[in-house]
């Protein structure tokens, strides 16, 4: 994975504290085609505009950049009142609630910073999961969608809620370890948790690795780097040996080795190249995994291409299960032995019965696969 020179400059300026030279901002904006630019980059440019009080920004750019900032903020809070109601219900029942992923950034690690969340993610301890799921589903406006090997998706009036009993989506089940170190804080009058800074840092990498492997969220190339830096700043992460050890414990060290070179390149003050080399250099076993993952990526892409090119085809459940079996083989390569021993994907048949009438089998499989990985 590589990052362009201009994106690197944008991130450096955005996180440069008070110093932000006007000539560098002007140079960054030179030749900007706002109509052809990615929304994520425009949002980050808007944040830079706000940070610099729009100095060095051409007047013609400002209204639409401010507009995208407003729209992303509204997008983020859309559905939050319903989510807050869910958190209060769970807390009232004595169920510990951990806010994870984007909402953990929004509520704890970077409050007020818009980031375009498509859904909400909460985690509860596995032993309280069924109770929590039933409680969440009984809330007004909630409807059951699909369950997966790590969570239950609950459809909300504005956004979906993914209620997790597993926090990291592959490898061994490390959720109890994450609960042990979780940071507690008060949110909407109740005590909730977020992953501890190092765990949140690894969690962001874990999610980014999954997106990279699946070839998803390609329009979001920079937000994960911003999230990492914000978490590192808030958690004062400096001890990279400790991060390495924790990543090893959580089964995610390979993904840190794979993605942290980009982070170090953008934020060398945070993760100096010498520390990167000392703690996050790939070894022979990592190279082997790299080859396996590259094979998995190829299979996954082929599979998605196949589904995309057969959208209108109607075919039966036996073929669907064969396709799913193929998918699971490739997925187990990626996910590791814990997934292989997990048995049949949770809820597949139930989900099929409920939703197969909505469009073609291919479309159904794609929907299901998007939920289980």
């Amino acid at each position: 994975m590589e990052i362009g020179k201009q994106d690197k400059t944008l991130l450096r300026l955005l996180f440069s504290g008070s110093s932000c030279p006007a000539d560098e901002v002007s140079s960054l904006l030179a030749g900007l085609d706002i109509d052809g630019e990615r929304a994520e980059r425009l949002l980050l440019l808007a944040l830079l505009g706000i940070k610099t009080d729009w100095r060095a920004f051409p007047a013609s750019l400002r209204p639409r950049l401010e507009g995208i900032y407003r729209s992303m903020r509204l997008r983020d809070i859309y559905g939050v009142p319903w989510l807050n109601g869910q958190i209060r219900r769970l807390a009232a029942a004595g169920i510990p609630v951990m806010i994870i992923k984007g909402m953990a950034m929004r509520t704890y690690y970077a409050p007020g910073v818009p980031r375009e969340m498509s859904d909400f993610d909460l985690a509860v301890p596995k032993e309280r999961f069924e109770e929590a799921r039933d409680l969440a589903l009984s809330a007004e406006g909630a409807a059951k969608a699909y369950d997966s090997i790590h969570s239950q998706t609950i459809i909300g009036p504005q956004k979906d809620l993914d209620l997790h009993f597993r926090i990291f989506k592959y490898g061994v089940n490390t959720s109890p370890l994450i609960w042990e170190r979780a940071a507690a804080f008060e949110y909407e009058g109740v005590r909730v948790f977020v992953p501890a800074p190092e765990d949140m840092f690894i969690h962001i990498i874990d999610n980014k690795a999954r997106d990279e492997i699946r070839g998803e969220h390609t329009g979001r190339r920079l937000m994960w780097l911003c999230d990492l830096e914000r978490v590192a700043e808030k958690g004062d992460i400096k001890d990279w040996k400790s991060v390495r050890d924790r990543a090893e414990e959580l089964g995610s060290l390979y993904y840190l080795k794979d993605l942290l070179p980009v982070f170090s390149e953008v934020f060398p003050e945070r993760l100096p190249p010498a520390e990167l080399e000392k703690y996050f250099t790939k070894d022979a076993a990592d190279r082997k995994k790299e080859r396996q993952l590259s094979e998995y990526k190829r299979c996954f892409k082929d599979y998605r291409d196949y589904l995309a090119s057969h959208k209108e085809e109607k075919y039966g459940i036996s073929r669907a299960l064969r396709a799913l079996s193929f998918y699971r083989r490739t997925y187990s390569l990626y996910a590791g032995p814990d997934y292989r021993s997990a048995g049949a994907p949770v809820g597949f048949i139930e989900f099929f019965r409920e939703t197969h009438h909505e469009g073609s089998m291919a479309a159904f499989l794609l929907r299901y696969i998007k939920k289980i990985v």
């Binding site: 706002i34 109509d35 630019e37 929304a39 425009l42 706000i50 013609s60 400002r62 209204p63 639409r64 950049l65 401010e66 507009g67 995208i68 407003r70 729209s71 992303m72 903020r73 509204l74 997008r75 983020d76 809070i77 859309y78 939050v80 009142p81 319903w82 807050n84 409050p111 007020g112 910073v113 818009p114 504005q158």
Partner: protein, 138 residues
């Protein structure tokens, strides 16, 4: 002082500007920085008189603080954004200091209906280039 009417609205303050979502009616209210500073004061424990006094001290006795503040509060109450609550004696001066300029601007907010439609709008290509989202292109 006042509190947000949590049964109907959700307020988000960032970079000195409020956005408020009415999750019952589906309306969205946008505030500029001056109105946001006053709204923040009103919902942070400052009484109405304290805010009026702080604005008068900041912008001068003839700035129309009483009238502008009264109209603003009335509009917030009419939109059911706020509920009255006993004041807690918070000093309003720091909030008044956040308002830039030599004279006190009009206080208010813009109201947009149907937030779901607004969020469907492409915030770059479907908006007025001089106004930005959520003002649609003519």
């Amino acid at each position: 002082m006042y509190i947000f009417n949590d049964n109907k609205v959700y307020a988000d303050l960032a970079d000195g500007q409020y956005i408020v979502l009415n999750h019952v009616s589906g309306e969205y209210y946008a505030f500029d920085k001056a109105s946001s500073a006053v709204l923040e004061a009103l919902t942070s424990g400052c009484g109405r008189e304290d805010v009026a006094k702080a604005l008068a001290e900041r912008f001068g006795e003839g700035c129309g603080a009483d009238e502008k503040l009264s109209a603003f509060i009335d509009s917030l109450l009419a939109a059911e954004m706020l509920l009255p609550e006993g004041a807690s004696g918070q000093d309003a001066a720091p909030f008044a200091e956040k308002i830039e300029g030599e004279s006190l601007p009009e206080l208010g907010f813009e109201r947009f209906t149907d937030v779901a439609d607004l969020l469907m709008m492409d915030p770059i290509h479907e908006v007025d280039e001089d106004m930005g989202w959520p003002i649609p292109k003519e």
